[in-house]
Each structure stands twice: as C-alpha cells, then as structure tokens.
C-alpha cells in the first residue's frame, strides 16, 4: 500500500473523535481476528486437499488472507501510535 493512502487513512482517523477512533481500532482488530481464524481454517483444508487445482485455490486464498492481515496490522500500528484526540 502506498504511503499516501496510509496517510489518508490516518488523516480520516484524526478527523474522527476519540470514541469513534477507538471504535475503528476495535473494528479492525475484530476483522483481523476473524482473518486469523480463517487463515488457520484454510491451512487445515490445504493439509487435507489432494487435487492440485484445489490446492492452488486454497494457496491463493491463504496468500490473500495473509496479505490482508499484514495490511490491517500496518493500519492498526499506525493508528495506535497516534495520540488520542
């Protein structure tokens, strides 16, 4: 993700009041938690998969899930370092 986009999200965050800032962080954490569970489930499915096509699809899904978590964590880290309004 480009720095400009992260800065825009931070700007949006700063424009919000502290309660909604906390709510945003909680929501991102909740989504990240869900993604973590989903990735784990996909890993288990991959371990069971036999066909190459199915494996390929699962691997792609895992890679996407992982990239989403990485992105979410980067946003969350940025938001946490900001002083509350």
């Amino acid at each position: 993700m480009k720095m400009r986009k992260i800065l825009q999200k931070v700007q949006d965050f700063l424009d919000a009041d502290s309660r909604s800032q906390q709510q945003q962080m909680d929501s991102i954490s909740e989504v990240l938690e869900k993604l973590k569970g989903k990735e784990k489930k996909l890993q288990d499915e991959l371990a069971q998969a036999l066909e190459a096509e199915e494996k390929n699809t699962l691997e792609r899904k895992i890679a996407v899930c992982h990239a989403q978590r990485k992105k979410g964590l980067a946003i969350l880290k940025q938001l946490r370092t900001l002083p509350p309004e």
Binding site: D26, K61, G72
Partner: protein, 629 residues
C-alpha cells in the same frame, strides 16, 4: 416449443407463397423493404439525437396544440398520414419525444390527411411518393458512406424514406391486380347493411392498398362515375380512415414499446372517430349539406361533399379526443408494458422508507440486489454460459469447453432496458434519502450504496466491450485465442459463482472476494508474458494479441467492479466492520505487490535449487510483522 417452431413454419409458408404467386413475392418484398426503411429511418433520427433535433421537436411539441399543428402541417406537405405516423413512431423509438406529444401529432395527421381528399376531389392532384424513392435511396446511400455523423444521419433518414416509399410502391404493384378487380358498383346497398358493408370494404381496401389516399382515389372516382351511391361512399371513406392505421401497426412491429403504444392510440382514435361517424351518419350528412350551402358548394357536387364529410368527421374526432390525450397516454402506458419492464421498475423504493434512514438503506440494498441480478444475467449471457451452470456446483471448465458458439445478445438494448432505468431510479432515491439523512454514518452508507450501483453499471459496460471480441474469440479458428477467451470466461464465471454463494448465504465477510481478484490480476500478468512469446514466435498476429490484452483488461476491471459491489451489498451490515473491511481489502497496488512477492519467491526457489514449493504458501506461513503470538 411453439415459439421455436413458429419461425421455420412462417419461412416455409413464405417460400411456398413465393413459389405459388409472383404477386405475393412482390408484396412480401415490398413489406420487407417497408420494415427495413422503418429501421433505417429510426437509425437516422438516432444520429441526430442529443442536440438540435430534440430542441426543434421539443419546441414544436411543447403544447398539445403545437403537436396537433405539427402533425397537420407535415401531413399536408407529405400527403401521407401513414408516413407521418411512421416517422412519429421512429421519433418515439429514438426517445426524441414523449408518447403524449406523439399522440398529438397522430391526431393532427388525421386532420391533415383530409386535405388529400380536397386535392383529389377539387384539383384531381395526387402527390406520388414512389417517384421519390430512387433519388432518395441513391442520395441516402451516398450520404451514409460519409464519415460525418450529421451526413450519416441524413443519409440513413433519406435511404429509410426511400425504402419506405419503395416498399409501399411494391405493395401497391403487388395488389394492383386485386385493386383493379374491385367493382364497387356490384356491392351497392342501401340502409344500415350498406353502411356496415361499405365500411368493411373501405377498411379492407385500405389495409390491402396500404394507403387511405389510394382508397380515396378509388372512392372519389367511383362516386364521380356513379358506381357507388353518396351514402355508400361516405361509409367507404369512414372505412378507409380506420384501415389506414394498419400502416402504423405494421411499422410499430419493428419499433419499441412506445411505437406500439402510439400505433394503438392511432387505432383507438380512428376506430372511435369511425364509430361516431357511423352512429351520427344522418346528422353529419345534414351538417355537411349545411356547410356546403354556406360555402357555395353545389348540392350535387358529391365528390366535394365527400371531402367536406371526411374533414368534418375527423375534426369532430380531434375535438372530442384531444382533451383526453394525456389520459390516453397514461392508459396505454399502463396496459401495454414491455415484457422486460417488470425487471426495470423498482420494487422496494417507496416514500415511506425515506422517512427512516435505516429502512431507506435496506430498500436501496434490496433494489441493488435486483440490479445485480439483471447485471448477472447480462454477464452470464455475454460469457455464453447458462445462469444455472454458473450458480450450480457443476464443472465450469467442462461447461466452457462445451460451448459451441457464442450467444447472441444486444448488450446496448439490454443495458438500456434492464440496468440503466433501474439504476437511475436507485440514484434518484439515494439523492432523496441523502437530503433527509442527518447522521454521518447514514450519509456514508448511502454514498457507499451509490458506489455499488455505479460499479454494477461499470461492470455491465466492461462486459459490453469484452463481448465484442469474446463472441468471435469463442469460435476462433486459432486454438490459442480460443483458449485465452475460455480462461477469461472461467475466471469471471468463478467470481460470479463466489458472489452467488455469498448472496445465498446472506451476510458474509467481503474480504473473501480478494482471492478471485488476485487470480484475475495474476492471469492479467501471465497473459502479458505469454503474449510476448506468442508474438515473437509468430503464433499469434499482433492485432489479435492487442485485442486479447484489451479484453483481459476489461475482464479485470469487470471483476474489480463486481467485487466492489459485492463488498458493499453482500458484505456485513455493521457500519464500523464494513468500514474496517474496506480499509483492509486489497487494492490494485496490493495485488500487484502480492504477485511480485510470489514471483520473487519462485525465482529464489528456482535459483537455490530448493524443492518446488508454492511461493504464496511461503509468504502465508510467515507471521505478519507486528502480530502478537
């Protein structure tokens, strides 16, 4: 089943008719030319839409009086009410005027056509439109070959008019034998029987001759030769007036729903006028005698008296029916609906929901699901895959391989009828809901829903671009081209299937669609590499490669738009979670980075000679930095 049989049966009957009767062949060819002319005329008017013509027409049809005058004046000049009705149907088809204005013109045309009887009876003149057919066709085709839109529009209009005239000419030629065998004197009958019989003859003759003018010539000459009585001639004129609507009815067959509504209005007007004239025949005859005496027409000059009668009963019809034009237009719109209109009218958007922001958002969401279903239908058709196959769990690869030929689809028409109209209603409703929304969350949600609607429209447009080459690519002789288009079809069908699963399961996380987007992006990247190789090895012409590159771009864009819509419409309803998901969802840059990382990993693996392992898995197995254990 019946519908499938109809076309071959009609074709066989026509072929038999051509073989059995040369006259029938001429008539059928005339009718075909006539319909072709209608289509070309409509095409010509469409070229002018979006500017001057709308302004002129809007100005000339601003009021009912103006519409009536336009119809009357143009029919007097052209000497053909049928032609004016046909042109009006074309205007309606091109969306250049509304139905009420069209009905006004048709009513005016009925009055204008009575000038023909005056010309025939008074001056013995008749403007022969068929004489203009050849020059109109030649000039029309010459102009159509020009690159300028204006000239092409004029050319289509002229050629259409030429074909129309030529069609009428051939129809008349074909019916000549029939027309000359009509001996009106042999049917002379007094009283009501005579009235009804001669009205029926008038209708039949005009239906066959396709021109009330031609019938009026017959009637007036027969009256002058005393082949028919004055009373019977009046009934014939009434019949001719009703029969002339057949031209507009035939013309409306190739037109849109508004054209058919106008043809119905024409029929209603002429039948009503005919019934009034037949009912009040004695009173009208007295009125005609009184008028003739007033203007100095000889009491025995029956031909001119017939012209007066023709004018009087049409005038009465106009006076009686004009105040009802708007009601007639609404009535026809209500009872005559295109089969597709049920799909294009909003079901959930109502005034009451606007008062509650949550209810308004839910209504819009439901309407967007309907819009998505229409778009799904368009995309599935564009991919030449049955909707049932996409929604089921059957093998998509096999279904794609089984496709023998591309499905035909007029995407522009489908888009106009099934997507654009419903989207306009949704956008309008969102604007109204936004003007009443107070909370920021409500405004944001409404904005997001508008984005979803726009994404669907964009997806439909992407399919339109894609379909152009895809329909050829599916049947391409080059296996590489066919294979590439089949890949695109499988990718998009897979995405549609995933969305369908989410749609039926209800609320779900919107982030799962990113995997399908990654696949599209990967294939887009892979295609560039493959195409380079194919062009270099001369296995694929550069032009075909360019088309494939563009079409892959459209497929990727289509996928992105569908995902955007699905994230909003089928994603979570909780606003904070939806917002968080939107922030985390992978964008184009993220997808590109992910593919790059995968490729880098693959390269390192191959350089190090390590066991082949999927790079995506490697990334996936590492813990994202910053995450707590």
């Amino acid at each position: 089943m019946l519908k499938a049989l109809l076309l071959p049966v009609v074709a066989i009957l026509l072929l038999y008719g051509f073989w059995a009767s040369p006259d029938f062949k001429v008539i059928a060819a005339g009718l075909s030319l006539f319909l072709l002319g209608m289509l070309l005329l409509e095409e010509g008017f469409k070229q002018f839409s979006g500017g001057t013509l709308e302004r002129i027409l809007r100005r000339s049809t601003r009021t009912t009086g103006q519409s009536l005058f336009l119809g009357m004046a143009s029919t007097t000049i052209m000497q053909s009410s049928s032609l004016v009705s046909l042109i009006t149907i074309s205007f309606l088809g091109a969306g250049l005027m509304d139905l009420a204005a069209g009905i006004g013109i048709v009513f005016g045309a009925n009055l204008g056509t009575t000038t023909g009887a005056w010309l025939i009876a008074g001056l013995g003149l008749k403007v022969s439109i068929s004489a203009y057919a050849m020059p109109l066709l030649t000039l029309g085709v010459l102009f159509m070959l020009q690159s300028s839109r204006l000239w092409r529009g004029i050319g289509s209009g002229l050629a259409g008019l030429g074909l129309l005239f030529l069609g009428i000419h051939y129809m008349k030629e074909g019916f000549d034998a029939f027309g000359s065998s009509l001996n009106l004197a042999s049917f002379a009958l007094p009283g009501i029987k005579g009235l009804l019989l001669f009205t029926a003859i008038g209708i039949s003759a005009t239906v066959i001759l396709q021109s009330s003018h031609a019938s009026m010539v017959l009637i007036i000459t027969a009256l002058a030769a005393q082949q028919v009585t004055y009373e019977n001639a009046l009934a014939l004129a009434i019949g001719a007036n009703v029969g002339t609507t057949i031209t507009a009815i035939i013309g409306s067959l190739g037109a849109g729903i508004d054209g058919r509504r106008l043809a119905a209005a024409h029929l209603i007007f002429n039948v009503t006028t005919g019934v009034i004239a037949l009912t009040l025949i004695n009173q009208l005859t007295t009125l005609v005698d009184w008028i003739c005496a007033g203007v100095g027409i000889n009491a025995t000059d029956y031909t001119l008296k017939l012209a007066v009668f023709h004018t009087v009963f049409n005038l009465i019809g106009v006076i009686l029916m004009t105040p009802m034009i708007n009601r007639l237009a609404s009535f026809l719109t209500r009872i005559m609906q295109a089969p597709s209109e049920a799909l294009t009218l909003p079901v959930y958007l109502n005034e009451a929901s606007l008062e509650v922001p949550g209810a308004a958002s839910e209504a819009i969401r439901q309407e967007l699901i309907r819009l998505y279903q229409n778009t799904f239908r368009l995309i599935a058709h564009g991919l030449s895959l049955p909707r049932g196959v996409i929604k089921s769990e059957s093998d998509l690869i096999a279904a794609v391989a089984d496709t023998k030929r591309a499905r035909e689809l007029n995407i522009d028409e489908y888009y106009d009828h099934h997507i654009k109209h419903l989207l306009s209603e949704i956008v309008h409703y969102i604007a109204m809901a936004q003007s009443r929304a107070v909370a920021r969350e409500d405004t944001e949600q409404l904005s997001a829903l508008r984005v979803a609607g726009r994404s669907l429209a964009e997806a439909a447009k992407d399919m339109k671009h894609l379909h152009k080459n895809m329909s050829k690519g599916i049947q391409s002789a080059n296996p590489i081209v066919r294979q590439r288009y089949d890949s695109i079809r499988i990718e998009l069908a897979t995405l549609l299937r995933e969305i369908s699963v989410i749609e039926t399961q209800g609320e779900n996380d919107a982030l799962s669609f990113d995997a399908a987007l990654l696949e599209l992006a990967e294939n887009d990247r892979e295609l560039d590499r493959v195409l380079d190789q194919l062009i270099r090895s001369r296995q694929l012409p550069a032009a075909a490669a360019t088309s494939l590159m563009n079409d892959n771009g459209y497929a990727f864009s289509l996928g992105k738009h569908l995902v955007k819509m699905a994230q909003i419409v089928f994603g979570t309803r909780s606003e904070p979670i939806m917002h968080a998901e939107q922030q985390i969802a992978l964008e184009s840059d993220d997808l590109t980075n992910l593919i790059d990382e995968t490729l880098d990993e693959q390269q390192v693996n191959s350089e190090n000679g390590t066991a082949s392992r999927n790079a995506a898995m490697k990334i996936a197995q590492s813990k994202p930095s910053g995450e707590k254990s």
